[in-house]
């Protein structure tokens, strides 16, 4: 195999800067910490949901407004069958509770100096090898095009684009209000 090390310089620069911004924001929101993630799962500290919902709403409303001005980018919707996604999500939740990291925050945690995140990183590499071994079994299942195939919520439920955004907005308000009540 002949290899190229880097793509063109614009792509390299863009990728590094994007990653750096993302990593910086993760660190500044303290999402790279075990306590923050697990406190969210224990429903004590809602930092993770505050960041996630704010980000999703900003981007979601932005996409909606772009759609109105007719310059919407092409969406990149997953083609994975719903049952597999549900099963994967269940495993992910268990892994998240045990480690306190997601794959991205694990890298940020390594930067922060958490030694267990380094072990976790090796664990993820081993896990990918295991998945590689299981791939012949899963590849057929992944090809199935079920009800959720490349569908957005509003396409499937045939509703307005705004419904999910309104629901998430209400959730964010509820979290913000209950947090303010606690600190008073």
């Amino acid at each position: 195999m002949s290899w190229t090390i880097f793509p063109n310089s614009t792509e390299t620069f863009f990728a590094l800067i994007s990653g750096a911004i993302f990593g910086f924001l993760i660190r500044k929101a303290t999402l790279s910490r075990f306590n923050t993630m697990v406190s969210q799962l224990l429903l004590k500290d809602f930092t993770v949901l505050k960041v996630l919902l704010s980000a999703v709403l900003t981007a979601g409303i932005g996409l909606y407004l772009q759609g109105k001005i007719a310059i919407k980018p092409t969406l990149n919707i997953s083609s994975m069958p719903i049952l597999l996604t549900a099963f994967g999500g269940s495993l992910f939740g268990i892994g998240l509770a045990i480690t306190g990291y997601t794959p991205g925050t694990m890298v940020a945690a390594i930067a922060e100096g958490s030694k267990d995140a380094i072990t976790g990183f090796f664990g993820m590499i081993v896990g990918t090898f295991i998945f590689n071994g299981m791939y012949p079994f899963f590849s057929q299942l992944m090809m199935a095009q079920d009800i959720g195939y490349k569908k957005t919520m509003y396409q499937y439920f045939e509703t307005s684009e705004l419904i999910l955004l309104v629901v998430l907005c209400l959730a964010l308000f509820a979290i913000a209000k209950s947090s303010r009540r606690k600190t008073r």
């Binding site: 660190r27 910490r33 980000a55 719903i82 269940s90 992910f92 045990i98 922060e112 899963f138």
Partner: protein, 176 residues
């Protein structure tokens, strides 16, 4: 401004909005925000380095190398993520020294216990991410902002298993 950035923890809503805007820019440039794809690449490269024949014969790992690129967008994103988090650490003052008190209160300070648990937990984590075709950044941020059905289902199921698992693992105090 610099004093504001030096704080250990910034307002989560503010960070979220910045992340959302940044995500919007990436989506408009048709770029992916996903972290486990970088790990695929790293695994495939390591595998190819030590066992090239095995790698080319494994359909999944071989697919990761099909672009013949060592540092692709996803790998570089991870490198950038590390650098960005490092910069965030360097400029932060008053960062707490130890941030795993929930673990140590329940399971003690044994490093071996922690490392073993993280190792196996990470295997479960990445298997879940691969089977679902994405992870928290890919599905959770990109997917839900685009209102993808699979991404919303993914996040719901993380909560369905994650919250009870955390309660079982950490909520009940250690019986002394």
């Amino acid at each position: 401004m610099l004093n504001f950035l030096k704080k250990d923890r910034l307002c989560p809503y503010f960070i979220g909005v910045l992340m959302g805007l940044f995500l919007l820019v990436l989506l408009n440039f048709d770029r992916h925000l996903g972290t486990c794809c970088g790990i695929n690449k790293i695994t495939a490269l390591i595998s190819y380095f030590f066992a090239p024949e095995f790698t080319t014969q494994s359909s999944y790992l071989n697919k990761q190398l099909s672009d013949h690129l060592i540092f692709n967008w996803k790998f570089l994103l991870l490198v950038g993520l590390f650098i960005g988090a490092k910069i965030g650490c360097i400029i932060s003052k008053d960062a707490p020294k130890f941030t795993q008190t929930i673990w140590t209160e329940k399971f003690g300070k044994s490093a071996r216990k922690r490392h073993l648990s993280v190792f196996f937990g990470a295997i479960i984590l990445i298997l879940g991410a691969r089977i679902a075709g994405g992870c928290a950044a890919g599905h959770g941020l990109s997917g839900v902002s685009q209102q993808s059905m699979t991404s919303v289902v993914f996040m719901i199921f993380i909560a369905i298993t994650g919250v009870p698992s955390a309660f079982i693992l950490y909520h009940f105090k250690k019986r002394s």
